[in-house]
């Protein structure tokens, strides 16, 4: 039977198991929207901005592990997706983004609402397609889902000219994907894995660094097994939070620029780093030449380009994290005889003293609301049982530091690109996937304004997402840098009187708005906010002066940390250097 391109698209989406599409209509995608109007199985969630649609699909994907699907129109609709796509690309999140395009005959003519979106997104997609012939449509859709979700996942974009969705052809759907030029390596090299096992047994001061790859591959259980069996402490990068329980006694918290003292110290002193599904981002390593100077490095990653990109690796293992860990654990248990408890005693004791020396702290005595206190209270009241999204800036770092993530896929945050405006739409996507879970966006007053229009999406779809704004009336993280490195000249970071009344904004959208201005009100507001079965904005008016500590100045080694002045202890605070 002959089907139109639009019919083929919907049919393929259903075969891929898609239930929700995030999107926004326009002229050249009307063929598709018209069909969606009557469709019972596919639900389109209309966001209020295409960037919101992509972030929502991304949040959906991060929370579920399934690919997020987006449908937007050509030209401005397509270009509005770019930030969302780049965000997903940097964090290896599977998305399939469909953009309308002007009819094939008009492509290249500067037609109305034409944009070369395939050209524009080439560097920020894993792969992209322009469908020129309707006969290729089924295969391309199938390939797109396959490419997006296999290997190192990532966003794939499909550009759909209007005549392709409008014309008809015999429906064809390949049973399997065969792309001769695309064959990710899943199975790690056994000999290398053996080397890693022996290195772990020999190491006196090993540290595991777990990244987002552990979560993407579903390897959290295997990682825990490795850490517990060999008695090795684990630090989790921002993307890796939740890959290993933050409350575990072997957990060191996050490393890097705003990492814990003890995570950074452990890395710097260690003789073996076992890097799992992470890519040595500069926010983790600090100055490369001063990073883990004594450590041998084992690096497990599915992406060969991640290995030896930034740091020298002694034992490279290309493969799927989970599969590699399964084999590594097996080898360790079968072939390596060690007194794991004994050989780590001194090292773990050393780490324990670092933990006691400099835990994460803030001033708990003040009556002004400290942002860290709000995060801690959220953690306490939810007992950690929530999906947390964040915006970008101080709010993101405090969420990472003070909320203990025990399970994978419970922290959704833009790590690689650091996209302000990510958290709220991502929370909407996650809430759609898990209607009964508590989903909270820990936000900043600056970031929330970047996609605040999505309140409408949350309200109309009855998605009871919670937004906790750590309202410091500043682009706080930038202000922090200005205070520390630019002599306190707050060029264009003070929002103050222009910060809108978030309670009123919430109410204007028919959501609930609450505010706390004193420490004593925080708990009441949170309790009330978390209880409401509606979207809620909680505006916490916090101390604007608060800074995120520890902090490694850009360009410094990760043990050259700054600490809050009033908590200065034994170590002198390093002299500040100007930064780029």
């Amino acid at each position: 039977m002959k089907l139109s391109g639009a019919e083929i698209l919907l049919k393929c989406l259903k075969r891929e198991g898609v239930k929700h599409i995030f999107g926004y209509p326009g002229g050249v995608v009307l063929n598709i929207f018209d069909l969606l109007h009557e469709d019972k199985e596919l639900k389109l969630i209309l966001t209020r901005h295409e960037q919101g649609a992509v972030h929502a699909a991304d949040g959906y994907a991060r929370a579920t592990g399934k690919p997020g699907v987006v449908l937007v129109t050509s030209g401005p609709g397509a270009t509005n997706t770019v930030t969302g796509i780049a965000t997903a690309s940097m964090d290896s999140i599977p998305l399939v983004v469909f953009c309308g395009q002007v009819p094939t005959a008009l492509i290249g003519n500067d037609a109305f609402q034409e944009a070369d979106i395939v050209g524009i997104t080439r560097p920020c997609t894993k792969h992209n397609y322009l469908v020129k012939d309707i006969k290729d449509l089924g295969r391309i859709i199938k390939e797109s889902f396959y490419v997006a979700t296999t290997g190192r996942p990532g966003p794939v974009l499909i550009d759909l000219p209007k005549d392709v969705t409008g014309s008809k052809t015999e429906f064809g759907w390949p049973d399997k994907v065969d792309i001769r030029s695309y064959n990710p390596t899943y199975q790690g090299n056994e000999w290398m894995i053996k080397q890693a096992a022996h290195a772990i047994a020999k190491a006196k001061k090993p540290v595991i660094i777990a990244g987002g790859g552990v979560i993407l591959s579903g390897g959290a259980k295997e990682l825990k097994e490795l850490a517990e069996y060999t008695n090795v402490p684990v630090t989790m990068t921002l993307m890796g939070l939740g890959a290993f329980p933050g409350t575990h006694k072997l957990s060191l918290g996050m490393p890097g620029m705003h990492g814990t003292y003890f995570a950074n110290k452990s890395i710097q002193e260690s003789d073996l780093l076992i890097a799992v599904g992470m890519r040595f981002d500069d926010r983790v390593t600090g100055k490369i030449s001063g990073f883990a100077p004594q450590a041998k490095i084992v690096h497990i990653d599915i992406d060969p380009t991640s290995i030896r990109k930034n740091v020298h690796v002694d034992i490279p293992i290309v493969g799927d994290v989970k599969r590699v860990l399964v084999i590594l654990n097996k080898i360790l248990k079968a072939d390596v005889k060690e007194q794991w408890k004994e050989i780590r005693k001194a090292w773990l004791k050393q780490i324990q003293t670092w933990k006691m020396d400099r835990p994460l702290v803030y001033d708990e005595t003040s009556d002004v609301i400290k942002p860290q206190y709000v995060v801690e209270k959220i953690y306490e009241l939810t007992k950690g049982d929530a999906i947390v999204t964040t915006e970008v800036g101080q709010n993101q770092m405090w969420a990472a530091q003070f909320f203990k993530f025990d399970k994978p896929r419970t922290l959704l945050t833009s790590g690689g690109l650091g996209t302000m405006g990510y958290g709220f739409p991502a929370a909407i996507g996650a809430q759609l996937a898990f209607p009964n879970k508590l989903v909270i966006d820990i936000a900043g007053d600056g970031s929330i304004q970047m996609n605040i229009q999505e309140l409408a999406t949350a309200v109309i779809n009855r998605l009871p997402v919670k937004v906790a704004i750590l309202n410091n009336r500043y682009l706080g993280m930038v202000r922090q840098w200005q205070e520390l490195f630019y002599q306190g000249r707050y060029a264009h970071t003070r929002l103050d009187e222009t910060v809108p009344d978030f309670v009123k904004i919430a109410e204007a959208y028919n959501a609930v708005g609450l505010r706390a201005t004193k420490k004593s009100e925080v708990e009441t507001v949170l309790k009330e906010g978390l209880k409401v079965k509606k979207p809620v904005i909680m505006d916490f008016v916090v101390d604007w002066k608060e800074k995120v500590f520890p902090m490694v100045p850009a360009g410094a080694a990760i043990d050259e940390m700054l600490f809050p002045e009033e908590k200065k202890k034994k170590k002198p605070v390093k002299k500040l250097k100007a930064v780029k």
Partner: protein, 161 residues
């Protein structure tokens, strides 16, 4: 160090910009590039000459391999291979130099592919040393136009370094 990298790619729309975009986006150099179909019209071969230390070349080959449309990447520099470029040179010699131009062409096993009252157009193939040498010799005779192809390369059979 200079590396000559052969890349087998799907002969698809946009593949050249994927490759060149990868080089520009990551700050790698392209010294020369040539593209053509292989015997199988669905596959094209690109030859790229680039410079970088071992770490950069390793990244380049890995990044190329990661592109979905790339079938195979070979760093020709790692083994024995033959490299060729072609130039077309239009010279406008004074009448007393004409014989010398023809003599040089012959010595370098070039061919005169076009001539006019005032000019000869010479075709020469070879590796870059040979081409640089003839260019140096012809320069004083008056080169009017000069076109150089990208490099192409093929592995020698059976000999591995």
């Amino acid at each position: 160090m200079k590396h000559t990298i052969s890349i087998l790619v799907e002969n698809k729309f946009g593949v050249l910009s994927r490759i060149s975009g990868l080089f520009s986006g990551r700050g790698y150099n392209i010294e020369s590039l040539s593209v053509g179909e292989t015997i199988d019209p669905q596959i094209s071969i690109m030859t790229i000459v680039t410079v970088g230390d071992d770490r950069i070349i390793e990244q380049i080959t890995k990044q190329l391999n990661k592109l979905v449309d790339v079938i195979k990447v070979v760093d020709m520099t790692e083994s024995d291979h033959v490299e060729r470029e072609m130039v077309l040179i239009k010279v406008a010699p004074r009448s007393e130099d004409k014989a010398e131009v023809l003599r040089l062409t012959e010595i370098f096993r070039g061919r005169v592919v076009d001539s006019s009252q005032k000019t000869y157009t010479i075709e020469i193939t070879g590796d870059d040393k040979k081409i640089d040498a003839i260019v140096d010799l012809l320069k004083p005779m008056g080169i009017k136009e000069f076109v150089r192809s990208g490099k192409i390369a093929i592995a020698r059979e059976g000999i591995k370094k």
